[in-house]
Amino acid sequence: MSFSVTEPTRIEKWVAGVLVVVYAVVTLLPLIWIIGTGFKSPSDAIAYPPKVVFDPTLEGYVNLFTSRARLTPDALEELGPPETWYDRITRQYDMVITGPSLYGERFLNSVFIGFGSTFLSVFLGTLAAYAFSRFKVPLKDDLMFFILSTRMMPPIAVAIPIFLMFRQLGLSDTHLGMILLYTAVNLSLSVWLLKGFIDEIPVEYEEAALIDGYTRFQAFYKVVLPQATTGIASTAIFCLIFAWNEYAFAVLLTSGTAQTAPPFIPTIIGVGKDWPAVAAGATLFLLPVMVFTILLRKHLLRGITFGAVRK
């Protein structure tokens, strides 16, 4: 290692390292607790003192995906012995599985609306960002600021007229309505981020292509798009995470068919105070994002800071 006056000393590095690791472990605790609780039995979950070591069980997951009914001992006897492992789990509590719960459906809604709106907002965002980056657009700065300012409105305030508008157009509680709404909300982020990425692609490449007889469209999708792939991908991840996590619009504008997972998961708790099932639902919903974050950490910084930080 070359010596430099700006390089921190070994002791400094050690102290810094220890402090950061301590903070990281503390910050991670609630997340580990969510994952752990998903594998506890209901009585372990509410034990005092809180249990760190416990017998893992899939009860939470079974309860998450099924709806169950309590039967009298006689009726249970008539049914005969449980046939599957999940039947066995529910029989311990004198219950039988009556069908799937709504969780799977709500989760798929999240997937569908998330990917749909991400695709649209990245598609439209790329086009707009390219135009803002390469052409003289009248009032460019004003338009860019207008796009940014759409983020300042409190979602609840926007939700009032959107609620009325959706009711009028028949878009309430539909996948299409939610996809359009999330697309619009994400567009500001997507245009700002992508403009930054496209600004960094040298204009010379397209110019060369134009001279070779490409039209603007061809130059755009054969020359610019391939080079912007990384930027487009990391923008897409941000749009996806936003749509995945969004709650305010989802809880106000959906109630059944198109309801996404975030408004649904808190309702799992119901009357039974079934924390393992809630934790199981939360784990399945949060884990994909955690894995994404760790795998793609290199590309995330810029999106987090709304493109304000270029690095």
Binding site: S4, V5, T6, P8, A16, G17, V20, A24, T27, P30, L31, I46, A47, Y48, P50, G125, A128, A131, F132, R134, F135, L143, I147, S149, M152, M153, P154, I156, A157, V158, A159, I160, P161, I162, F163, M165, L180, T183, V203, E207, L210, I211, T215, F217, N245, Y247, A248, L252, P266, A279, F285, L286, V289, T293, I294, R297, L301, T305, V309, K311
Partner: protein, 321 residues
């Protein structure tokens, strides 16, 4: 036409090719101006439809006594009476105060902890990359889902938070309830928000610290400036614009805060954690006073927009220095 393509001669020269006729291209495809509009129009259209049109509609509604759950009732123009009533409503001042408490404390804690963490991570110890990622995890997650689970961590006795606090301080873990106690609930939401969003401030500060060129420190070292002095005269002033940017983003977001807190406390106990967005939701979608709530929404938007504009002016002044 005056776009960037007019200065294509250097590129052509570099490639050693001849430009046959500059007009040729215009005939082949659409003109650049047409392409620009085709590319921008859908975005502008969608933003107008989902942001500007609703905003105008909100302003219109705010001047009426419309109720969204009674569509057949007659709608009267009430002029500015909604605004007048909001500004004199003690409930609303109460939630403004709750929001101010929430804003001041979350911003100060997040700036303090976030900057310290960034400063430590910038010491470039081994594995700092991985630990940074782990610290970032909470902010990537769904605030509603996480907030909901925190109510479990905050349970007296069985909750992990109460247990850890009890273990460290010797207080009985079942003797206090973070979300059930009027005095503690405002802090319960500050803690979770700080846990969740400190990494955001940290990341922006880190980018700021990394943007300071080594040569400045080397020069300071030659002048025998102490580490303390270097921190106050180089590190902090140069990272300040980034820090202020982080405060701007967090400030706007927390002014609009809804999902995390509504799941954590639902505004209670009583209304001590009823932030403006929660209050607004109650007026609009529980009491169904649509016109009144619209006026409330407009007031909030104007407030956040005004504060942000003033702040951005200050930020630009700091940047110019």
């Amino acid at each position: 036409m005056t776009d960037k393509t007019t200065d294509r001669t250097p590129a052509a020269a570099r490639l050693g090719r001849e430009i046959t006729t500059p007009l040729g291209r215009g005939i082949k495809g659409l003109s650049d101006r047409a392409v620009a509009w085709i590319f921008i129009a859908p975005t502008i259209f969608l933003l107008l439809a989902v942001n500007i049109f609703p905003l105008i509609w909100t302003i219109r509604l705010s001047l009426t006594n419309y109720r969204a759950n009674r569509t057949n009732a007659e709608v009267d123009w009430v002029g500015l009476r909604n605004y007048e009533r909001i500004l004199t409503d003690p409930d609303i001042w109460n939630s403004m105060q709750a929001t101010a408490h929430f804003l001041v404390w979350t911003l100060s804690l997040q700036v303090l902890i976030g900057f310290s963490l960034a400063y430590l991570i910038n010491k470039k110890f081994k594995g700092n990359d991985l630990w940074t990622t782990i610290i970032v995890l909470p902010m990537m997650l769904s605030p509603a889902v996480v907030g909901n689970f925190w109510t479990f961590l905050y349970q007296p006795q069985i909750g992990l938070f109460n247990y850890v606090v009890g273990f460290l301080s010797g207080v009985d873990p079942s003797s206090f309830s973070m979300i059930g106690d009027v005095a503690l609930a405002p802090w319960a939401i500050v803690i979770v928000d700080t846990w969740m969003w400190t990494p955001f401030v940290m990341l922006i500060c880190l980018a700021g610290l990394r943007s300071i060129p080594d040569s400045i420190y080397e020069a300071a070292e030659c002048d025998r400036a102490s580490a303390w002095r270097q921190f106050w005269t180089i590190t902090l002033p140069m990272a300040l614009p980034f820090l202020m940017l982080a405060v701007l983003f967090r400030g706007i977001e927390n002014f609009k805060m809804f999902d995390l807190v509504v799941q954590l406390t639902g505004g209670g106990p009583g209304s001590v954690t009823e932030l403006t967005s929660i209050n607004l939701k109650r007026e609009a979608f529980e009491k169904w006073r649509t016109g009144y709530a619209s006026a409330y929404g407009v007031i909030l938007f104007v407030t956040v927009f005004g504060l942000a504009s003033i702040y951005v002016k200050a930020l630009n002044k700091v940047k110019e220095r």
